[in-house]
């Protein structure tokens, strides 16, 4: 029988099917961090049971860590206690922790791939909705709540409804100035912030195939922003080339066997999806959001749609039918699990080399991991950023969610490479405009919203 990529992986992980249609699904990798794990550890301990498969868990501290002076004790008391609780829990249960100060520390969705922990065909979970990022490798990866974190700790399994399947095919070649971030912002603007709810999405088509692994991660990362449980892309040679040589990747004969298996993971020609969407890169320009959910996006040269939600526009201080080109902005944030990898930093550095940010703009560049930070320094990107007046920080989730002190002040505008423009997401009253790294970089230089294509040509 013809199967989708999703079906192949799901079916290979069914421990037991339950009456009524739910499946008990085995989980291959469990990533944990300081914010959504403490109550799960406490729950397991309260039940008096052991962690069932501690060797399948990997921990890091990312959501609530400072992005300056990470070698010093965390100043804020509750944050310090939360991070310390993760350290204590990992020590007590013998779980590997890439915590503050470790050369592998970083945003959980950046370090999984770069360490070779994330691999095709796996089921991967984490108490974070952007776990969908790992789907770029052809894995079933999705975010879970803390009760489910506890379930996986207790049994390495979850009881799940089988989601419906959706395929989104994007064909064509991206034009200069557009990137994978623009592809996914475009898709969400068409399907809306709820358009994928109940579905697991496979991304396919020539435009997806042509992307690097890091660019594919950006696409899968934002699957949740249209409500989808996750998104995945069939593994190919690009995937294999990325994984080879990574710290925890299989090696030698095991790698050969793995590669053969990984390349068998694709949707069969006759496989049927519950829903299919087709897009073409000819319609995809540099994007920007104007509202308070990621579905409220448009080409940067468009005008805000006339029937936009007035509550959202009031919050943003925008009016229907106006253009955002030339709008003054005060902040630029380059970072988050969506766009904080080395290719993102290179693209930004290339754009700003030898230039200087607008004087009224503050710019934060937060690398996704210690490895990304080290690589950036090795390539001299940190110098380029410093000379441009950008603040190059240490790794963490930072201003994406404003859990640490990296917040955008009330009422001010931030062009952000992150994934959510919800009210108050980057700080109470903060106004977020989501965009690609180079659109954000162009705004940093100009001090207002610009069409990055005009900067590239100039």
């Amino acid at each position: 029988m013809s199967k989708t990529l999703f079906d192949k992986i799901w079916d290979a992980h069914v421990v037991k099917s339950l009456p009524g249609g739910r499946d008990v699904i085995y989980i291959d990798r469990h990533l944990i961090h300081e914010v959504t794990s403490p109550q799960a550890f406490a729950g397991v301990e309260a039940r008096g049971i052991d962690i069932f498969r501690k060797e399948k868990i990997v921990a890091t501290a990312d959501h609530n860590v400072p992005t300056r002076d990470q070698h010093l004790p965390i100043r804020e008391a509750m944050s310090r206690k939360q991070v310390q609780t993760l350290v204590d829990n990992c020590a007590a249960h013998d779980i590997p922790l890439y915590g503050l100060g470790h050369p592998y520390q970083g945003i959980v969705h950046v370090i999984g791939p770069e360490l070779g922990i994330t691999r095709p065909g796996m089921t991967i979970v984490c108490g974070d909705s952007h776990t969908s990022t790992h789907g770029a490798f052809g894995s079933i990866a999705f975010g879970i709540g803390t009760s489910q974190v506890e379930q996986v700790m207790a049994s390495q399994c979850l009881i799940l409804d089988r989601p419906k399947t959706m395929r989104i095919t994007v064909d064509g070649e991206l034009s200069p100035g557009s990137s994978s971030k623009d592809i996914i912002l475009y898709i969400i603007s068409k399907l809306t912030a709820a358009g994928g709810t109940g579905y697991f999405v496979e991304y396919a088509g020539s435009a997806i195939r042509a992307l690097s692994m890091e660019a594919r991660m950006t696409i899968c990362n934002m699957s949740i922003e249209m409500g989808a449980r996750g998104g995945l892309i069939a593994p190919d040679q690009v995937t294999i080339d990325y994984i080879r040589g990574k710290k925890f990747a299989p090696q030698g004969a095991e790698l050969e066997a793995a590669e053969q298996y990984w390349l068998s993971l694709y949707s069969d020609d006759m496989a049927v999806f519950d829903v299919e969407h087709h897009f073409h890169t000819d319609d995809i320009a540099p994007m920007i959001t104007y509202g308070t959910n990621p579905g409220m996006g448009m080409a940067v040269t468009d005008n805000i749609p006339s029937h936009s939600d007035t509550k959202a526009l009031d919050y943003m201080g925008f009016e229907a039918e106006e253009s955002l080109l030339g709008k003054r902005i005060e902040h630029v944030f380059i970072g988050s699990c969506t766009n904080s990898r080395i290719e993102d930093l290179r693209a930004v550095a290339q754009m700003v080399q030898g230039k200087r940010k607008a004087s009224h703009v503050s710019v934060m560049v937060v690398p996704g991991s210690k490895q990304v930070e080290a690589q950036a320094k090795a390539e001299g990107l940190d110098t380029i950023f410093r000379e441009a007046g950008f603040d190059f920080r240490e790794p963490g989730c930072s201003a994406c969610l404003g859990m640490n002190e990296d917040k955008i002040p009330q009422g001010e505008y931030c062009v952000s490479t992150s994934n959510r423009n919800f009210e108050g997401r980057q700080g109470p009253g903060a106004r977020t405009l989501l965009a690609s790294p180079i659109t954000a970089a162009a705004a940093a230089l100009a001090g207002h919203i610009v069409d990055v294509r005009t900067v590239i040509k100039a």
Binding site: L18, Y26, T36, M78, G121, M122, S147, A154, T197, E423
Partner: protein
């Protein structure tokens, strides 16, 4: 988990669409390491001003509305997977959320915490909002065994997964079940090849 069988209560109306989990509980309040006390910061930035004073135009600060049921616009709970959103709603005192559409992860988190998400049609949602507007003390009745929701003369059936229904009725959670099938899980592991 506290069992949930029948709930009869007035309801709090929130006719806003796409209420995301950052509104339900902002990230800066996720630093606690226990499940308790999140209700104090439920809808923090809609509920209080910068100085911590209650905003009079927000529904939770309006004394005419109260109850164990929250009625909200479509796509409730979108965004982050933070279970703290379900904890905050439960800690505040809600036991049932009614909307025409729920985000996936939130719905699962709610069910895992004894908070019942009831999906109704857009029309039914409209009717309920109108009934509450006409009479803020209007009682809604939830009958989980029969899967019925009623508001005055109107009554609707709602769907819920049979397994999760039993969990809610009995106050059981998934771990109780998963621990009971450990032999099956170990047998699966022995057959599995992971690359």
């Amino acid at each position: 988990m506290k069992p949930l069988v029948h709930i009869s209560s007035s309801a709090v109306p929130m006719p806003i669409e796409n209420v995301d989990t950052d509104q339900i509980i902002p990230a800066r309040f996720l630093k606690a390491i226990t499940r308790d006390g999140f209700g104090d910061n439920l809808f923090r930035d809609w509920r209080y001003d910068r100085g911590g004073e209650p905003k009079q135009d927000f529904v939770l600060n309006n004394p005419i509305y109260a109850g164990e049921i929250l009625v909200a616009g479509k796509n409730f709970g979108c965004g982050s997977s933070r279970e703290h959103a379900a904890w905050a709603l439960g800690d505040y005192g809600f036991r049932v959320i009614i909307s025409s559409f729920f985000a996936d992860i939130f719905k699962g988190n709610a069910l895992n915490n004894g908070l019942l998400p009831i999906t109704v049609s857009d029309q039914a949602l409209h009717t309920i909002f109108q009934a509450i507007e006409a009479d803020p003390s209007q009682e809604l009745k939830v009958n989980l065994p029969e899967q019925k929701l009623s508001c005055g003369e109107e009554e609707w059936s709602f769907d819920i997964d049979g397994y999760k229904k039993q969990c809610l009725l009995n106050g059981h959670d998934d771990i109780d079940f998963l621990l009971s099938i450990k032999d099956d899980i170990i047998a699966f592991e022995q057959e599995q090849v992971i690359y």
